[in-house]
């Protein structure tokens, strides 16, 4: 079996080229691969396009906003470009207002489904979400069974950074509760999937085949979070 286990986050993200599209899961801070993001920050790749639910929060923890602030991102594709509260100005908002970073705002369900389509080999799909709004302007419309839909396209990644609960040596992954969020579709949509895992990596065969959330065929590199890693 191919060895997918890497000894450090720095080794796991080494060689990630400038200009890559990188997918970052996480919702409310849960399932967010903070250790891999910190390693990418140290690694320094530039002109990246990020795919993420938001463009970074405003706390002292490492998240997508850390890469934005460091000038590593040229564009964010996400469901929130504004900060969650108008009074809080994130690094992203500051740069966005000065046109120093680009953004594509996507309804959250469409964002998830576009990644699922990329992973599932679907060339495009029609959704009723966003019809009648500014975000549907310029998109192809089609009435299906009396209801208007817009055409949406698959969203591929070069890399997905994943935060998992358990992994085996083949790369099979399990998530715990709402940690799952975007992790599954991002692992499917990206060419190279890199995982930080909260538990020791177990031998193939130790995870129940009925309860694998991401099959190992989608997973390329796995690192166990060390005791001094970023846990929350």
């Amino acid at each position: 079996m191919k060895n997918k286990i890497f000894n450090s986050f720095d080794e796991a993200v080494a060689g990630l080229p400038d200009g890559s599209t990188v997918m970052f899961p996480g919702f409310g801070g849960v399932g967010l691969p903070r250790n891999l993001i910190a390693a990418l920050h140290r690694q320094g790749a530039k002109n990246l396009t990020g795919v993420s639910n938001n463009a970074g929060a405003l706390d002292d923890k490492v998240d997508v906003g850390t890469l934005v602030e460091a000038g590593q991102m040229k564009k964010m594709i996400c469901a929130f470009t504004a900060a969650t509260h108008p009074s809080r100005v994130t690094p992203f908002v500051e740069m966005y207002n000065k046109d120093e970073i680009d953004a594509e705002l996507v309804p959250q369900g469409t964002l998830a489904e576009r990644m699922r389509a990329a992973g599932a080999g679907i060339g495009g799909f029609y959704t009723p979400s966003s019809v009648g709004t500014e975000l549907a302007e310029g998109k192809e419309h089609r009435e299906i069974n009396g209801r208007m839909h817009v055409l949406e396209h698959p969203l591929f990644g070069d890399y997905a950074f994943i935060r998992a609960w358990k992994a085996d040596t083949f790369g099979n992954l399990q998530f715990r509760l709402t940690q799952r969020n975007f992790n599954v579709v991002m692992a499917m949509a990206a060419t190279v999937t890199i995982v930080e895992v909260e538990n020791e990596i177990v031998e193939a065969g130790e995870l129940d085949p009925d309860h694998i959330h991401v099959p190992g065929i989608y997973v390329d590199r796995i690192v166990t979070i060390p005791p001094d890693g970023i846990w929350y």
């Binding site: 309804p107 709004t133 609960w165």
Partner: protein
């Protein structure tokens, strides 16, 4: 007049929650609507759904008893309930787009008499925050809104037409503000219940849209 007490946010959310029916799948948006979860009629059998992939979660976790892996759409720690299940994000929005959600409760900047509403973008600011609101608004069976009746500056929020970019066209069915409960009908806003001490004329004065005042107008119902 401005000195008269208005409705508390909790009362507004309670009032909307009183409309939830048995077996309804209920999605509560970020902010004020999460207050709805503080009141669920114990005789009612509500199923909660959160866009980040939880079906059947329970009340907010007590401090010190949070499970770091379990949050709601607002990122708040919630509790597990028997029968809860977890989905990934694409499957969670399959539930939403598939029409399984009976009601979604959201906040808003503006609501119009044609059922349009706006809650994701202020034109003076670049960008916005859609989250799952557009999917929910377009696909849930009913959209309920909880918001203050007026802006901080005293401007109207119940309009004949929205001025901000909308979240979805023609979907709002019921609206609770700090001045009352409003149904949106093909004819426009119907004032169903007024806040105690407020008469329809006073409410109309603070409203841009023309209010329909039905003969059976009632006083606002509070939680029992």
């Amino acid at each position: 007049m401005a000195e008269k007490p208005k409705l508390e946010r909790q009362a507004m959310c309670d009032r909307l929650a009183m409309e939830f029916q048995d077996e309804w799948i209920v999605n509560l948006g970020v902010g004020m609507p999460t207050l709805c979860s503080n009141y669920v009629d114990p005789s009612r059998d509500i199923i909660t759904h959160s866009e980040n992939g939880v079906i059947g979660y329970g009340p907010l976790a007590e401090e010190g008893k949070e499970d770091g892996h379990l949050v709601n759409a607002g990122g708040q720690f919630v509790t597990a309930q028997p029968g809860m299940s977890i989905l990934h994000h694409a499957d969670s929005f399959a539930v939403i787009r598939g029409g399984m959600v009976d009601v979604t409760v959201m906040g808003a900047y503006e609501v119009a008499e044609n059922g349009d509403f706006a809650n994701w973008r202020i034109p003076s600011r670049k960008g916005g925050g859609i989250g799952g609101a557009m999917d929910l608004a377009a696909c849930a069976k009913r959209v309920f809104i909880a918001m203050e009746h007026n802006t901080r500056e005293g401007g109207p929020k119940l309009l004949s037409r929205c001025t901000l970019p909308i979240t979805a066209p023609g979907v709002v069915k019921l609206l609770a503000t700090d001045l009352g409960l409003f149904e949106i009908t093909p004819e426009g806003f119907v004032l169903r219940e007024h806040a105690p001490g407020w008469n329809p004329e006073e409410i109309q004065e603070l409203t841009d849209a023309k209010l329909i005042i039905p003969p059976d107008l009632k006083e606002f119902r509070f939680r029992a």
